[in-house]
Amino acid sequence: MKESFKIIVVLTLSALLSGAVLAWFNQFTEARVIENRLAELRKSLSEVVPGMTRYDDLVRERNFALYKVWAGDSVAGYAVEAVGNGYQDKIRVLFGVAPDFSRIYALRVLDQKETPGLGARITEPWYLKGWKNRAATLLVLVKGREATKSNEIQAITGATITSRAVVSIVNKGLVRAKKELSNVLGNDSKGEAK
């Protein structure tokens, strides 16, 4: 009886102490952790939409996000964060779209675990350059030749699955973004009608 009482006291005390220490320690790091995350998002957004000064969150989900990006007082465009299956694991990308959805400004890969030297080359500048100023319609992957039309994306040799995955993630992201925006606009006009 005495022994089990001691066990309860020791375990409870160590758990309480551990919680207290961590709560105290968290004060010093929490603000910086959030700040880092925001700074990273800001940096990526300014890379995919030219002239970004600030942004608004329109949709924020685990596997999809839509940001309205401003340059001063005018809308510079939208940024879409989309996720999909790659060759090894989920690929997370962020791309900027013009306000009228006529074209994609640029694309960045936020997260990927593709094969180094093959699929992982989607993070390299020469590949990302192939995403500059593409038509924001249904994109197609071309293999073995340069992209000639504005809706074509050149595949990476030896990484067809990854290349195909990125194109499909962007296509799905575009469709979802258009749907979300028409909802938002629809709600706005209803609000105005009242």
């Binding site: 022994e3 001691k6 066990i7 020791v10 375990l11 160590s14 758990a15 551990s18 220490v21 961590l22 320690f25 968290n26 010093f28 790091t29 929490e30 910086r32 952790v33 880092n36 995350r37 990273e40 094969t115 180094p116 030297g117």
Partner: protein, 199 residues
């Protein structure tokens, strides 16, 4: 408790004779996972050094208060506390490194080197001897990780700590930074250590 312990001996045994990775083959999960670059290895070494040393100090201080039946549970709570501190610290001040190490920092909680040292050493010795043991073991872990990550990064990527050093000498052998390369490099390293030890 054992009588006099030689601090120097407790310190140096972790480096070679009882090296946790190369001789005792403990803590292989982080060893294999984070040695794809020297930078990641350094982050892991720092985190393990902090967690192991702090946990050993705590455990050796409270060893007489903890009932035998719940000692493992208590040690794990202590270790998890320091691991969470290390993890939050990395996330706040080294976000890129924290992202690269991913789940392997929180996983230090279940790293058998750390729990092993508490059970085998810190819970039976005084604070000073436990610190000597913990620092020695951390350094041994560090030596093993530096060897592995250097081999893998140089062969697999042609760089060391991100600096290109084999320009044009050979084509980087990409398999070395993939999981298979970790097993190959560790196997060769361990067999070499065995060879020299048994000679």
């Amino acid at each position: 408790m054992k009588g006099e312990v030689s601090l120097g001996k407790e310190f140096t045994k972790g480096l070679w004779r009882e090296n946790p990775v190369l001789v005792m083959l403990l803590g292989l999960c982080p060893t294999l996972a984070v040695t794809n670059s020297v930078k990641n290895a350094l982050g892991m070494i720092g985190a393990v050094f902090f967690v192991l040393t702090c946990s050993s100090i705590m455990v050796s201080l409270i060893k007489k208060l903890v009932p035998l039946q719940v000692r493992i549970a208590t040690y794990i709570v202590i270790i998890a506390t320091f691991v969470t501190m290390a993890d939050r610290f990395l996330a706040a001040y080294f976000p890129a490194l924290s992202k690269a190490l991913g789940p392997y920092v929180p996983l230090i909680v279940v790293n058998c080197i750390i729990l092993g040292r508490q059970e085998a050493f810190a819970s039976r010795h005084g604070v000073v001897a436990s610190v000597a043991d913990a620092v020695g073991m951390s350094l041994g872990f560090g030596i093993a990780l530096m060897l592995l990550s250097s081999i893998r990064e140089i062969l697999g990527n042609g760089t060391w700590l991100g600096v290109p050093i084999v320009k044009g000498l050979f084509t980087p052998w990409q398999v070395m930074i993939l999981p298979a390369g970790a097993f190959l490099a560790l196997g060769v390293l361990v067999s070499m250590v065995r060879y020299f030890k048994n000679r």
